[in-house]
Assembly symmetry: C2
């Protein structure tokens, strides 16, 4: 398709597409004549991912470039490639690693991972952004005086393991690793609010069932 | 306990506690002498909730007052009381209800609730903030060109139903409705990031199991 058609299909203005091309977030189309290039479905997909990152995720352009570099890096193993793309996304500010509440939260995460038998996550430990992204809100809870225990977290973790299993089943229906990594990133930004909203609706339904409307 | 002890136990300065007392976010202690009041565990609990709302949830003081009014309103039924407290929390900006993507998202939510047999949520429909909080991110997905189907959402919704069941099992261990409503509000703000982080850790573990580290 031509640039104007790519704009129409994606809802992104031609000026913005040209900006993404200049910034190398989007790869050049196949040159047909001196003034015309041809774009394909991969450009459209990439454009949707860039919009999700910038408009919804409020991700800065420099970070978008890092995320996309990981998505495109065929030299990475599959776990690393998916992980690298997600890890490049902005995260909540981390707690001071030396503060007592942080140490308590880390001990809690260690105990939880042992209880669950999640040995890979435990082996990676503090090197993994996923692990650190769990320490941060737990530290917050403890600092604010809300106690939290392994017993209480374990069922949630098991349910999230089941969600993660489903996440990968969906990813595996996609044809290649690049598209999987793109989808995982878009999902992290666009689908997390869906998951939380589903929980709220489920809570409302559960409350009505237990106590009446 | 005295004001100074309340400050020490909660980590909130006495000046800030006095401000919350003046703003009537926190109820007055029991007057002992002209210059001294006695505070109890309920003040400490309330103070922790206020901190969670203001510091983590970035909830404006006027909204904190609305949330607390719902938490404290004994005339409300249990479902309404829990719901009212949660519904008073700030939400993502809603999509234009007349836009085609919004109508498509609403139809999707209707079909999903029918498929799940969640009749209460469906009966409440667009009146319920939980329902609307689901329409918003789905509209976003559709607008940005990411298709989404009932088939794909159903397993997530069922897993969230299981999470919600556990949420209420935990709430029911608490002694009274006021404390349940407080806990539900603190949980909505402080524990949602924990749930999302658990999902990321679970994804990392699942990826390592399927594809190697």
């Amino acid at each position: 398709m031509r640039l104007s058609e790519l704009s129409e299909h994606s809802g992104v203005s031609t000026a913005t597409i040209k900006y993404y091309l200049r910034e190398q977030l989007l790869s050049q189309g196949r040159r047909i004549t001196a003034t015309r290039s041809e774009y394909d479905a991969s450009h459209l997909r990439r454009l949707r991912l860039i919009r999700a990152l910038i408009q919804v995720g409020k991700v800065p352009v420099a970070t978008v470039r890092e995320v996309l570099a990981a998505v495109d890096d065929e030299s990475l193993g599959r776990t690393t490639r998916l992980g690298a793309a997600l890890w490049a996304l902005p995260r909540a500010e981390e707690a001071d690693p030396q503060a007592p509440a942080t140490r308590e939260a880390q001990a809690l995460v260690e105990d939880l991972l042992t209880e669950l038998g999640w040995d890979f996550a435990r082996a990676n430990g503090a090197l993994s952004p996923a692990y650190r992204s769990l320490v941060t809100p737990l530290t917050r809870l403890l600092e604010l005086g809300h106690p939290v225990t392994v017993t209480e977290l374990t069922p949630y973790a098991r349910q999230m393991a089941s969600v993660a299993g489903h996440d990968f089943d969906v990813l595996e229906t996609l044809p290649d690793d690049a598209e999987r990594a793109e989808t995982a990133v878009a999902a992290a930004i666009l689908r997390e609010p869906v998951l939380l909203a589903l929980r709220r609706v489920a809570q409302e339904e559960e409350s009505a069932r237990r106590y009446g409307p």
